[in-house]
């Protein structure tokens, strides 16, 4: 049975000066699907995220979300429709306690609407959300200044902030970069769990091993163009992909 795609990107393109960052990329994402996006450095992955979430306006092409054209809309409108993202370089409020970082999305009109017109007790909700993400409430981690937390926590804080928006589509931009093996090991099951519960996810990642374990489908970008798409096995056997990764064959366990 083929379900209506939640996100449809049609021939999207963007250049910065003479650099063609993204060139005519098209793809679809089905409801509840887990899509991985990989590619060498500078292949346009983050620009693609910025194009979908409205932080960068495309030169050409379209982004269709649930049948609605959201091309070039303001980032807060796109976020309000249920597309949440994390940032490659975490963007947090370091001089605030961790749970106050989560209160910001809880103040958004989207959350108010989903909660039936009222915000409720935000502090409590924020700490609950963080507790679920492994910020031990009992040891007061949610109350610590964000600036004093280790990097792995910051990445998870950024993820929690995206989830606090109660998104229908989550875009993770290199969530694992800079995380230790054990931090990855504790975060990955959380992301898998959200996907199983019906959240559609696009995940950009350099750590192919972890990515291939969880995604349904992989898309490979190189110099702004889509060079392959399919299951992890199919993709890594494509000639172009091997060439793009300069012969570095990837073992899939």
């Amino acid at each position: 049975m083929k379900t209506e795609p939640i996100l449809k990107v049609e021939k999207i393109g963007k250049h910065f000066g003479g650099v063609q960052a993204v060139l005519g990329v098209s793809f679809e994402l089905r409801q509840g699907e887990f899509l991985g996006v990989i590619g060498p450095n500078g292949s346009g992955k983050t620009t693609l995220v910025n194009l979908i979430t409205g932080f960068v306006k495309p030169d050409s092409g379209k982004v269709i979300y649930r049948g609605k054209d959201i091309t070039g809309k303001m980032p807060y409108i796109i976020a309000g429709l249920g597309i949440a993202r994390t940032f490659q370089m975490v963007r947090l409020f370091y001089n605030l306690p961790a749970f106050k970082n989560i209160i910001i999305p809880l103040c958004s009109p989207r959350v108010k609407k989903l909660r039936g017109g009222q915000y409720g007790e935000r502090d409590e909700t924020a700490v609950d959300l963080l507790d679920d993400m492994g910020f031990e409430r009992d040891s007061f981690v949610p109350y610590k200044l964000a600036g004093s937390l280790p990097h792995g926590y910051l990445k998870r804080l950024d993820l929690t902030r995206a989830l606090a928006l109660r998104p229908e589509l989550l875009i993770l931009d290199e969530i694992f970069s800079g995380m230790s093996m054990s931090e990855v090991a504790s975060t990955l099951p959380l992301i898998e769990k959200f996907n199983r519960e019906g959240l559609s996810i696009i995940m950009i990642e350099h750590r192919l091993k972890e990515l291939f374990r969880v995604v349904d489908r992989v898309m490979v970008l190189d110099f702004g163009q889509k060079i392959a798409e399919g299951s992890p096995q199919e993709v890594m056997n494509t000639e172009e992909v091997k060439k793009a990764y300069l012969g570095s064959e990837v073992e899939i366990s």
């Binding site: 980032p75 605030l96 910001i104 958004s108 606090a164």
Partner: protein
């Protein structure tokens, strides 16, 4: 002092009371209660008693200081929301002219012109600056710097609202107690109001816009609408000061858009300690009387005023309020260096 052979250094310890915590208050004794309450209550009582002591000329200086305090608060509020303004004169001038015109052409008394000029001026200024809320940092500052100067020229060149002569013989306040207490109470209300706003979730979002506007946008919040709201709040405060001074001086002219009203509040806030609101008030209450006391120096007044400012800013870059707050919340003791 230290004997030969023994060396000491100052050790600073934070007081072990959760005076600065957000939600948890540990109050177990009268001493701790007083510790928390006195620094808020004493200045308030002092400001409320001051008008009884200061009469005549110095009473007017107090009113003027309060109005500058309001402008400095308005500047500090915008700065807390990430909008660095160099144009508090716009708010001051718009409020002044709204009140002046209503009084001069329609003969409305201050009790009507004050609230109307305050609110209408707030809406006008917020609407006027709404198109530039997308600008950040120096670009926003430049626009706000230029707009009031544009209005000066506009009034002088077109001759509207009295042109360069201004509108004079406006209705004064009927009773000498009204303006002085109105000024003091207004400043206190705005001071504690702003501090409350910034401690609420509403202010949390405004402060977050200053820190990282893209992160706030990705949380689904329309930052431009929030910034316009913040502009309105700041403009209301500035317009009130303008409308008030119009009736206090019984005159309004193009000089209300002068650069002084933009720069001096900024200086007051910087001197007092930006980002705390209390610092803005403290700075104004220090600078305005200082400037008046120096009138005896004649032509060299501004020179000395500037020298005092330079010394303060070099000596206390964090601002008076931050300094006092830090000292208040710390023990200091000499410890031996072994």
């Amino acid at each position: 002092m230290a004997e030969a052979g023994l060396r000491y250094r100052k050790e600073r310890l934070d007081r072990g009371i959760k005076a600065r915590s957000d939600t948890i208050y540990v109050i177990s004794s009268y001493r701790e209660m007083l510790y928390l309450v006195l620094p808020r209550v004493l200045p308030v009582i002092g400001l409320l008693v001051l008008p009884l002591v200061l009469r005549g000329y110095w009473g007017k200086v107090l009113v003027y200081a309060c109005m500058f305090g309001l402008l400095a608060l308005s500047w500090d509020f915008l700065a807390a929301c990430g909008m660095f303004s160099l144009g508090q004169a716009l708010f001051f001038g718009v409020g002044s002219f709204f009140a002046g015109a209503l009084n001069h052409y329609l003969h409305w008394p201050p009790i009507l012109t004050l609230p109307i000029a305050t609110l209408a001026g707030g809406v006008f200024c917020a609407a006027l600056l709404a198109p530039v809320v997308r600008l950040k940092g120096i670009y926003f500052a430049m626009i706000t710097l230029v707009v009031p100067l544009l209005f000066t020229r506009l009034v002088v060149a077109t001759g509207v609202w009295g042109g360069s002569h201004g509108l004079s013989n406006l209705a004064p306040f009927t009773n000498e107690w009204i303006p002085i207490y109105l000024a003091v109470v207004a400043m206190l209300v705005v001071l504690f109001g702003f501090r409350r706003i910034m401690n609420e979730d509403y202010g949390l979002v405004l402060g977050a816009i200053r820190d990282d506007d893209r992160a706030v946008m990705s949380a689904g919040i329309n930052i431009y609408w929030r910034k316009i709201q913040a502009l309105f709040i700041a403009a209301v405060v500035g317009c009130f000061a303008g409308a008030f001074m119009t009736h206090q001086y019984q005159f309004v002219g193009p000089s209300v858009f002068a650069l002084d009203y933009s720069i001096l509040p900024l200086t007051a806030a910087a001197l007092g300690g930006a980002g705390t609101f209390a610092g803005a008030v403290l700075g104004s209450l220090a600078l305005v009387p200082l400037s008046e006391a120096m009138r005896a120096l004649g032509g060299l007044r501004i020179t000395f005023y500037c020298i005092v400012l330079i010394i303060c800013i070099i000596g206390l870059p964090e601002g008076i309020f931050h300094f006092i707050q830090r000292k208040y919340q710390q023990f200091e003791r000499l410890t031996e260096i072994g």
